[in-house]
Every structure is written in C-alpha cells, then in structure tokens.
C-alpha cells in the first residue's frame, strides 16, 4: 500500500496557552513495499508523524492518504510497533502476540497457532509461555514485532524499535527485520536516531529537523540487501548523511543546549 502524507501540520496546546508545532506542513510519499527510514533529532516530530499515519492522532491540518483513501482511525491494514514495546505484562509472550487476533475474534486455537508461527519467525518459540518481565530487552522487542507481524499488515510502522539495545543485539535484529520484510513485503516506515541503522535498512532515508518539525532532506540508498556496513558504498552514503546532519546539528544547536 502506498502512503501519501499531504501538508500535515500538528500543533499541541501546552499549559498557559503555549503552543508547540510538532509538525509543520510535512509532505511525504511512500511507495508500496518501500522501506523508508525517518531520521532526526529528539523532538522533531517523528513519533507524532507515525501516530498520525497509524490513525492514533488527528492532524491539525492536512491529511494522510493510503492508496488514495483519507484515513481517520486505526485500521487492521496498519500495525505499529512502539519504542517502549507496550507488551501486556499480564499476558504471556504468545498471548501478547495473539492479542490483535483476539480482538478480531479469531478462534483461540487458530489464533494461538498463528501466534506461534510468528514467534518462530523471530526465534522465540521456546519462550511462548513466559511473561514479558522474564525477557531481555531484545526479546521483548521481538515479541512486539511479532505482535505486529501476526496481523499481516500491509503497512508496518516502527518507532525506534531498536533504540534501547546494544550494538550487537541491534545488528542482529536489523538483519532479521530485513529478511522478514523480504518475505512479507509490507510498506515500512522506520523511525530511528541511528544513522548507520537508517542506511543499513532504508530504501530512502528521510532526514527531519525540529522547531518546527519538518522534512529537511531525503537520501536514496540504492544498495542491495543485506548490506555490508564496512562496504565502500555504504561508507560513502554515510558520509553524505553525516554532512546533511552537520547542517541539522548546527541549526539545532540552541535546541540541544
């Protein structure tokens, strides 16, 4: 499914009549089955944009179209993975993965079977009956991803899914995500802080700037997947993204301080 973000503007009221412009007239097109990475400093509106696309927030003006249809509410076509996993602590791993199916009233047996299938896809079969608090961070993240994938969404929205992981676990999960996408071919929007990660995963890297949040630059990454981080072309693209960033960093310095 193709996504079209059309002049989306989002502002929040804070206390004492202060207004924050989280997104300022953002436009962006994502093609069917494309993997787009959103890259940008804290507070530039990445999560807000993702939530608007998911239908969890309303844009203040502008709109989002999916395959030409304006969206207003969450739909089963789209699944979102939150940065903080948002696993239900009172449900076991498999019950968590089942959650969306339970809501859809899929018969329990069938739901469980499907959930286990997707758990094996993320190498977590052995942990099906364990509670989330007994998992490591990386395992939790994979459960959250499985919970999204089991719904077989046409659009997968991932909000800094590997943000809290160490370099090693992160690389492994990046690899796994690439293979899953090869198999299911959803349209993906992937939010990240990490330049390497964005280049490793994305077909395009969208660089955003804060105050107010807007799209600053888009870098195409035309390398075959899975990519090699120590590759010459990879490093060339990294240099380019770095340069785009330095500009961002300079303009946003006052924000950082």
């Amino acid at each position: 499914m193709a996504i079209l973000v059309h002049d989306v503007r989002k502002s929040f009221h804070l206390q004492k009549d202060r207004e924050i412009i989280a997104l300022n007239d953002v436009s962006l097109g994502v093609e069917d089955q494309e993997f787009v990475c959103l890259l940008g400093p804290s507070g530039c509106g990445k999560s807000t944009l993702l939530k608007i696309i998911a239908g969890l927030e309303q844009a203040s003006s502008g709109w989002v179209e999916i395959d030409g249809q304006k969206i207003t509410a969450p739909s089963s076509d789209r699944a979102i993975v939150f940065q903080d996993y948002a696993l239900f602590p009172w449900r076991t791993v498999v019950e968590n993965v089942q959650f969306g199916l339970d809501l859809r009233k899929v018969p329990a047996k069938e739901a469980r079977k499907k959930a286990l299938e997707y758990l094996s896809l993320v190498n977590l079969c052995n942990f099906a009956n364990v509670y989330p608090h007994q998992l490591s961070g990386g395992m939790k993240q994979r459960v959250a991803i499985a919970r999204a994938l089991v719904l077989e969404p046409k659009i997968l929205l991932l909000d800094e899914p590997f943000g809290a992981l160490d370099a090693f676990t992160r690389m492994q999960l990046q690899f796994e995500l690439t293979s899953i996408c090869k198999k299911n071919s959803p349209t993906v929007i992937f939010v990240t802080h990490d330049i390497d990660e964005a280049i490793y995963l994305g077909d395009r890297v969208v660089i955003m700037t804060p105050n107010p949040g807007k799209v600053n630059a888009i870098v195409n990454v035309q390398l075959p997947k899975p990519r090699n981080r120590t590759d010459y072309d990879f490093n060339k693209i990294r240099d380019r993204v770095f340069r785009e960033f330095s500009l961002v960093t300079e303009t946003s310095l006052e924000y950082v301080i």
């Binding site: 969890l56 699944a79 979102i80 939150f82 239900f88 602590p89 449900r91 809501l103 989330p132």
Partner: protein, 264 residues
C-alpha cells in the same frame, strides 16, 4: 546482602523477631509487676501473665469462636459486597471526567467521615441490626477499594491503551482486555487495605451487635472492667486482621504470577 536468602540467615531473622516479641512481653511484665506509675501508669495494666491465664480459659470456651466467626462473617459480607461495587464505580469514575465530577465529589465528601459515626445513620436506614453492622464493615472496605481502583485506572500504562487502540480495539474490548487486567493489582491493594480497615471498624460496628462478634466481646469486656479480656479482644482483632491480610497476599501471589518478580 549476598547471602540474604540463605537458610541460616533466615533463621537468624526469625530468631531476632522472636527475641523482639519476648523482650516486649517481658518489659510489659516487669513494668506491671514493679507497679511502675511514672511517667506512664503501666502498673494499672493487667500483666501478660494474667492475660495469658485468662486467654487459656477463654480459648476453652466455645463462645469465643462464635464471636470470631460472627465477626469474620460480617467482614466477609461487607467487604465482598464492597468489592464489585467499588471496582465498578472506580472504573466509571476513572474512565470519564463527567462521572468523576458527578460521583467522586460525593464520595470525597463521605470518605473522611469516621465509620463509628455512621452507626446512628446505619441503624436508622437498615431494617435489621445485622444489616447495619455489615454496612459499617462495608464502608470500611469500600473507600480503599474505590480510591485504589481510580488510581489504578489512571495508572494503566497509556502505551498499552494506545497499543490496543492501534489494533482496532473497541471501547468494551479496551475495558476487558486492558483496563481490567491492568487494575487487578490495584484492586488487590485496595482490598487488602479495605479488609484491614473493615477489621479496624469491627468494634464500632459491633457495639450495636447485641450478642456475638469479637468487637462486641471486646467492648462488653471493657464495660465490665475486665481488662484482661479487653486485651484478649484487641489481640484477637489484630490477629484476625493480620490473617486476612496474609490470606489475600497469598491469593494475590498465586493469581498475579506475572508480577511475581517485578514486585520482588
């Protein structure tokens, strides 16, 4: 610290606790037998030996167990009636500003009123004495459960709510799959506190009982100036409160397996 769970260490802790209680009782005995009257008039108290002797006699009387059973029944009735009502009201108050404004302001008004002063009202509006007593134990349990349920609803992780919404959950599904399981720990906390308060209010409630109940027993012992029995009543009520508390903890532990180690 590293050996905090070793067997020997646990034994040491139990021994320390026993020592503490022995010291407490012995101090009490010494204060009484030496008739210490200053700064506080401990000499007026019955000694632990006297209380112990009376306790042995009391323990052999069947009526003592009737008293306990009667109170237990009332508190169970009161707190079990409070549980669903308080949870229901807590949910609808927690989920909507409108019901919060409409209902919570009334409950906030009623909450700080001492149970004991509900006695006259309870007697006036309930057709039976038993009803009035249970009403007072009910009040004891109701407010803690209500307050905790409301707090629980407010504390349900908003990410979970958004997550469920992102998967297209209806309002009812949200309630059933997210809010209800999410507030169960709070309900337990509320119920534990509530049943404690219920036990605390048992004397006030059973002042009007007329026949049985450990609160009634304690109060009538007092009117007879039978201090040993009064203290036995106090101890019994304290012990019953503790027993209920521990029982609920056990149920909670077995029900909330998923919390086992988070809480620890």
């Amino acid at each position: 610290m590293s050996d905090s769970s070793s067997f020997r260490y646990r034994i040491t802790r139990v021994i320390r606790k026993i020592i503490a209680i022995i010291v407490f009782v012995v101090t009490w005995q010494i204060l009484v037998s030496n008739n210490v009257m200053s700064p506080l008039m401990f000499g007026n108290l019955p000694s632990p030996v006297e209380v112990g002797e009376t306790f042995i006699v009391v323990l052999q009387k069947q009526v003592y167990y009737y008293h306990i059973l009667a109170s237990f029944g009332r508190i169970l009735a009161g707190s079990l009636a409070a549980l669903p009502l308080a949870v229901f009201l807590g949910l609808i108050i927690g989920l909507s500003r409108v019901t919060e404004d409409l209902l919570l302001s009334i409950f906030d008004m009623l909450r700080p009123i001492p149970q004991i002063s509900w006695i006259p009202v309870a007697i006036l509006i309930f057709p039976s004495v038993e009803g009035s007593i249970i009403f007072i134990t009910f009040l004891g349990a109701f407010f803690p459960i209500l307050v905790n349920t409301i707090a629980g609803v407010a504390n349900v992780n908003p990410s979970l709510i958004i997550a469920a919404k992102s998967m297209n959950a209806t309002k009812l599904q949200l309630l059933r799959y997210v809010y209800l399981p999410g507030i169960i720990p709070n309900i337990f906390t509320g119920f534990t506190i509530g049943i404690g308060v219920s036990w605390m209010s048992v004397i006030a409630a059973e002042m009007i009982s007329g026949k049985y109940g450990i609160g009634y027993y304690t109060w009538t012992s007092y009117t007879l100036m039978a201090y040993s029995e009064t203290i036995i009543g106090m101890i019994t009520i304290g012990a019953m409160g503790t027993v209920c508390f521990e029982l609920i903890k056990i149920i909670e532990k077995s029900l909330l397996k998923w919390r086992e180690e988070i809480g620890g």
